[in-house]
Symmetry: C2
Subunit: 450 residues, 2 copies
């Protein structure tokens, strides 16, 4: 297949390039001052940006002699001035330090104050490192278009972006990988054989790997103590490896522009349900108005916390996950959803020093010995999943927080919709169509890479 | 309460004593020879035998210069001669060495050849120790009637006998305990506070305990390397401690002569079943014609092996046990007896060196990642307990043996009766009445000792 056909689609055309150049010229002019040096960072400067991605990073480099407080004050003040000259609007955002998120016409412009340091291993704030990244990439990247292909490939395979929703490949990793492997095709051929723990270095000594344990370890060429792959999840990593695998076997345009998935029909879903023999429970609520970087980790933690509670009550979870669009849906596919009234707790060994406490605690219950361990029979409060869930979701917010339901979700539990068992199909009918695409992926998911 | 009233019932009367004396006189006379010294052992000699227990142990002590082969040959020959003189019958039984089980009138007479040694810590065969036990008890036991009370107390509370069926208190332990505590009442008061790992010594140094881990450690006063409590199970130990507890609170004749338990009615059993919400499966077969010391451990192992297989197939066992009378019944009270078609196997960590093997093995299945572990979805062969059991019990004997079903039981599986679910009550109706007593104990069992 001809990768140039892909590039035609994703590479900014002349007009787009010139508009961007003109914006940057004006920005740099507006940023002139005696107190800081302006520097364009990000994919624009490195020539690896994708068409339609109108995002510019403008860094303002201050002398390290400035206190952090002064840096914040003077930095924001200068940034505001720039936006004013450019006739844009802004909000102030907070990472390690405050920065400015501006909007100028169709462009998103982040203006980030930082320190101008000389040794990137001695940074004062994470953003101080960025100028060094730009410098390294500009000095070493011979073919920025290959990075564009890689970014688009990752995007189509749902592993592009180091944000907490995707937990995928950052733009910087894409650039480093192309620098390392020379071309997109070369990288893909190699990556098809990768396994979790794969390490890539640009340095001469290799000892640095051992202190990191992530699916892909990429030692930052400007700071040997930093793993650029830290934010990449095992799922995203193997999604990428699997895509590379498939691409090597049969390259096609589809790896860059995914065919629209035909959602399952309700009939098909019902058929899958019956084939699997599991029972499904859905908890849905409106997506709270918070950043994806906040709600996605919370949804993950929420599903885990609920999983744990179900297991503790004897309800065995086969798989669980969440769907998040306008609506959030927590999904639990159950192996056991009904349990006997009586249950057995396995206690300490009869020789254990904790045995006495156990016997005292269960003075009113029936206690006996199995395999030299004390065991006790107790009655369960809940014998069905639905009963348990109905009870749980009505608990006070404080109690839910204590049980590990995250802060942005706990307040929504009371008014969430709960469905399970025979009602699941009816509930799915009312959900957006892409929920059925989500389910299709659930049923068809396969990350095997051998 | 007056313990003398108990003694009146359990202590041999004058007539019984005299009959026994007369037998022993004749036995010793018949045992006169130039090659071995005859010695009466067992509870008769120690004066701790219970009325109606017409069992005599006659030991024949040979010089240690004799080879084991000669000992066996000469010992059995002399034993046979004795039985002939006494006009009894016999079978040859095998422990560490062969011995003779004789029957003389109403008496069971074991004739055991052994070595006459001087140091019991340097025995050549386990039976060589017995004469030293007799000597120690005779020299130290001041009140044999207290031992009789203890034996009867243990018997009524189902923990008397070191055999593999009971795994309880041997006669020798009972004697040692009375020697240690002086009287039955004193012992019971102390034992009510015992916990697993309790150690009793007749020696001065106490280091000996540490090498033993049994519920009750009794260092043999004639051999400091031997734990007389080795055969006692935690269950029997706590059955005893619990009985002592209850006796101390409210002493009564019932602790020596158990009231007949009224078996549950079918209605009561049904009520319990419903209250518990579990499902029951019974596997029954005729008791094979082998010694209790063989079949009981095999029944225990069999239940464990089946437990394991059920769990592996997703069927969760709440409790399991066996009943053994003319018929043997393996009993499984299930928490889960039905599972979905689909199941999930949790595989190695994505970083593990075993990951590759896992991925290769499940090349045809759907594989994905959960919590940095590879997982795979596979279809189960059996989704109901009954289906699984029906399949299992028809397997060839060889396969059952490989799966851990013991040798005397595996051949019976093919013709056993299996019932489960709604049929259980009907099956119980056909079983002997004492099976319902067994079930009553199942439901009411409680060994809490605090």
């Amino acid at each position: 297949m001809d990768l140039n056909l892909i590039l035609d689609k994703i590479k900014p055309d002349k007009k787009e390039e010139e508009e961007m150049k003109s914006l940057i010229g004006k920005l740099l002019k507006a940023a002139q001052s005696k107190i800081a040096k302006p520097l364009i960072c990000g994919s624009i400067e490195k020539g690896t940006w994708l068409s339609g991605k109108n995002e510019v990073d403008l860094f303002l480099l201050f002398k390290p002699s400035l206190s952090k407080k002064e840096l914040e004050k003077k930095g924001l003040s200068l940034a505001k001035k720039i936006i004013k000259i450019m006739k844009g609007s802004f909000v102030i955002a907070y990472a390690e330090h405050p920065y400015l998120r501006g909007k100028i016409g169709k462009y998103k412009v982040d203006i980030v104050p930082c320190y101008e340091i000389t040794d990137p291993e001695k940074i004062m704030s994470a953003v101080d490192r960025t100028p060094f990244h730009v410098k390294f990439v500009k000095a070493n990247l011979k073919n920025p278009d290959e990075v564009r292909l890689l970014k688009q490939f990752c995007r189509a395979n749902k592993c592009y972006g180091a944000d907490l929703k995707t937990e995928g490949f950052s733009g910087y990793i894409c650039e480093l990988l192309i620098i390392k492997y020379g071309s997109f095709l070369n990288l893909v051929k190699e990556a098809a054989k990768w396994r979790a723990g794969h390490a890539i270095s640009f340095l001469e000594t290799k000892e640095d790997y051992k202190k990191f344990k992530t699916p892909l370890i990429v030692i930052d060429p400007v700071d040997r103590n930093r793993n650029v792959g830290a934010a990449l999840s095992a799922e995203s990593f193997y999604r990428f490896v699997r895509a590379c695998n498939d691409f090597v076997k049969k390259p096609s345009r589809d790896f860059f522009f995914k065919q629209e998935v035909k959602p399952y029909s309700l009939k098909e879903i019902e058929k899958e349900f019956n084939k699997r023999g599991t029972r499904w429970y859905l908890i849905s609520f409106e997506k709270p108005n918070v950043l994806d970087d906040i709600i996605y980790p919370q949804l993950r933690r929420c599903v885990k916390a609920l999983d744990k509670m179900f297991q503790q009550n004897g309800f065995k979870v086969l798989r669980s996950d969440f769907y998040c669009n306008k609506e959030c849906v927590l999904i639990f596919e159950m192996e056991t959803w009904q349990v006997p009234k009586i249950m057995k707790n396995i206690g300490p060994d009869v020789y254990s020093k904790h045995a006495e406490q156990f016997l005292k605690h269960y003075k009113e219950n029936k206690v006996f010995i199995e395999d030299d361990k004390w065991v006790v029979e107790v009655e369960r409060e809940f014998t069905t999943m639905l009963h348990f869930l109905n009870h749980l979701l009505k608990r006070p917010e404080k109690e839910l927080l204590e049980k590990g339901i995250p802060s942005k979700i706990a307040p929504l539990m009371r008014k969430c919709k709960l469905c399970g068992g025979g009602d699941t199909l009816k509930a799915i009918e009312k959900l957006p169509e892409d929920f059925r695409i989500f389910l299709k992926e659930w049923f068809e998911k396969d990350l095997n890479v051998v």
